[in-house]
């Protein structure tokens, strides 16, 4: 049985990836940070009592800020595959907490790579790179060869991790790959990200629990895909004979305004009556037209996105409607 280690397993991508790997008969190990509140909500549907004999999901306390702990875990688990999904992943927040963002999102990667380099089994390594690395885009659409121009502390930290991953591949012969993932959303997206913030607000406004939604830059354009499909690409990269770097994207770009219009109209609401602009949500430096060209992934990995913008928006609104309904009826949270 193959063993995989996932950092950031409690996040959107980590939870989908854990499900995928369990379905492929992996033993899945995840690193979780200690918190005074439960942070494993996204894993509820797959979490089993660790004493159950059939259990194949194991959670370990650890942190990308804690190098000794990482080395100990990698040595103990001896995973064949390591997926580094943990990050301070919010771009706007990275302007408020740049040092912390760098410690986790940049230095954390080199800590993990060092831990992997030391362990005899030489696991394959996946690094979650990001379209934010392209920032002030140098060409449209962006592909694997497009130069980076990060515009936020988060983008700078991800560029660092990208290069250090390439560097460990070239210097030590590690099977280490970067997935340059463009925005990917789902009902499990964190509530402070713009898509999820909108779909949650739509559910609340529809239910009469809220009237206004405050947003930042409506003209920001992104290439939005479905997280559940994007984690398949991560797995595919580690199954290739040779490590490499791949752009994962839909190839379509849409503005926040379009997302708002579609999300509100899906439940019969007029967005203009509810949406207001709050300057505080603007980024100090905005990234420009992000749109990815995933033809290399299509050609080499056979990967292609199926869920596109309109379906994704509706799927997220529907999930937030169902979640709110369940919540109001006192039922447990649902996970899509």
């Amino acid at each position: 049985m193959k063993k995989a280690l996932i950092t950031g397993i409690t996040g959107q991508d980590g939870s989908y990836l854990a499900e995928l790997l369990l379905a492929k008969d992996y033993e899945v190990h995840g690193i979780i940070r200690r918190a005074s509140t439960f942070n494993t909500g996204r894993l509820d549907s797959i979490y089993a009592d660790p004493h159950t004999p059939a259990n194949r999901l194991f959670l370990h306390y650890g942190d990308l800020a804690d190098a000794s702990g990482l080395a100990r875990l990698v040595g103990k688990i001896q995973p064949e595959e390591v997926y580094n999904l943990a990050a301070q992943s919010h771009v706007r927040v990275s302007f408020d907490a740049p040092e912390y963002t760098t410690d986790i999102t940049a230095t954390g990667t080199v800590r993990l790579l060092e831990a992997i380099r030391e362990v005899g089994i030489r696991p394959r390594f996946y690094q979650a790179s990001s379209s934010e690395m392209f920032g002030k885009v140098q060409e449209v659409p962006q592909k694997e060869t497009t130069p980076f121009y990060p515009r936020s502390p988060y983008g700078c930290a991800k560029v660092y991790s990208y290069w250090v991953t390439v560097n460990y591949r070239e210097s030590y012969g590690l099977h280490a790959s970067n997935g340059i993932l463009f925005n990917h959303e789902s009902p499990r997206r964190g509530e402070t990200f713009v898509t999820r913030k909108i779909t949650r607000a739509v559910a609340h406004i529809q239910a009469g629990l809220q009237d206004k939604l405050y947003l930042g830059n409506l003209d920001a354009k992104r290439d939005w895909g479905y997280a559940k499909e994007y984690v398949e690409a991560m797995w595919l990269m580690l199954q290739q004979p040779e490590p490499d770097d791949y752009v994962i994207a839909t190839g379509e770009t849409h503005s926040v305004r379009e997302f708002v219009e579609l999300a509100f109209s899906h439940v019969g609401l007029d967005w203009q009556k509810h949406v207001a602009i709050d300057e505080r949500y603007h980024r100090p430096a905005e990234v420009e037209l992000l749109i990815g060209d995933a033809s290399k992934a299509k050609c080499r990995l056979g990967w292609e996105p199926k869920v596109k913008f309109a379906e994704l928006t509706r799927l997220m609104v529907d999930a937030d409607m169902a979640l709110l309904k369940a919540h109001r009826e006192g039922r447990a949270r649902v996970t899509a």
Partner: protein, 334 residues
């Protein structure tokens, strides 16, 4: 009187820059790390000059890993210009200590940017990036528009810091700029850098102190300038109307082999009789053909290197020889 704060003041560039700024009438403040041995040889001549130390030159204990202390030193000095030269500056060593290289070079620069941003009158910031950010570039020579693609932990950290400097310039309006500096050497170069290792080795063999010099690959080529010329570019960049990044380089490539030949010839020796190769000194991922195009600096700053390659290597070898001779002389007297 204008005030400057230099991190890394005890290093090669820091000491030359201090001399330049003192000459230009600045009050100079420097951050020094606490160590159990007091190694400040590069600024000793200034430290022991009563007309300078504690009058126009001030040293503060500070460390990039100790933000509170550094913040306090910066607040106290209230500089107009900050030159952030402190770094783990050895490429080969960055493979041995990648995490602390990242912490000092990448995170240290970010911490400094955060502090400057919070000061009531943010000073201008100079950051020395490196030709290493280009890794194994496809274009020769490299200029300000060449894509960044580092191939070692040092290059990754420098690239991060340079990009972060740009983010703070664009997002927060700081007068902050990076120079992509290619190798620059001098008699004050650290002893574990290849040029210094060769020049000192040639001098030591000449003096009969050692018999042979052990080296790795000598085919590697670099763009080597004189540190004294390069600190002038640092100062010039902070005197411009707007902050911009510049490549600072000589535009010439010379091999380690040429360093070897020039250094040994400077002391009248044949290198072939004294050099042994050691495979273990080869770097895991050797970057190739890093040569910079400094025409933007020439055009906009009026900067050009004054010292050529051969003069640089001869100056280094002769300085090493003179130092060893004066050590021998004082040992004989003692």
């Amino acid at each position: 009187m204008r005030r400057a704060f230099i991190t890394g003041i005890t290093g090669q560039d820091g000491s030359y820059l201090t001399e330049l700024l003192l000459e230009k009438g600045y009050e100079v403040h420097g951050g020094v790390r606490r160590t159990s041995t007091l190694i400040r040889s590069r600024i000793d001549h200034l430290y022991h000059d009563p007309a300078i130390y504690n009058r126009r030159l001030f040293l503060h204990y500070a460390d990039l890993e100790d933000p509170t202390t550094l913040r306090r030193a910066l607040t106290k000095a209230a500089p107009d210009e900050v030159y952030h030269l402190a770094s783990q500056s050895h490429v080969g060593l960055s493979f041995e200590i990648p995490e602390s290289t990242c912490d000092v070079v990448a995170m240290g620069t970010l911490r400094l940017l955060e502090m400057l941003r919070d000061l009531p009158h943010p000073p201008r910031l100079f950051f020395p990036s490196s030709g290493e950010v280009f890794g194994r570039p496809a274009v020769f020579p490299q200029d300000e528009d060449t894509p960044v693609a580092p191939v070692n932990p040092y290059g990754c950290a420098k690239a991060f810091a340079m990009q972060m400097v740009r983010v703070y310039r664009e997002a927060f309006g700081l007068f902050a700029c990076s120079a992509i500096m290619y190798n620059h050497e001098s008699p004050r170069r650290g002893e574990n850098f290849v040029t210094q290792k060769i020049c000192r080795g040639a001098a030591a063999i000449r003096q009969g102190r050692q018999r042979e010099l052990v080296l790795g690959d000598t085919s590697a080529e670099r763009d080597w300038g004189h540190a004294r010329d390069y600190v002038r570019a640092m100062w010039l960049m902070l005197q411009q109307d707007r902050p911009q990044d510049f490549v600072i380089a000589t535009g010439e490539l010379h091999s380690v082999q040429e360093v070897l030949e020039t250094a040994f010839a400077a002391v009248g020796l044949d290198w072939r009789q004294h050099v042994r190769r050691d495979e273990r000194l080869f770097r895991p991922a050797e970057p190739a053909r890093l040569v910079g195009d400094a025409s933007k600096a020439r055009r906009e700053l009026g900067w050009a290197p004054a010292t050529g390659f051969a003069d640089l290597i001869r100056e280094m070898t002769e300085a090493a020889l003179a130092q060893m001779r004066s050590e021998s002389a004082s040992a004989a007297q003692g």
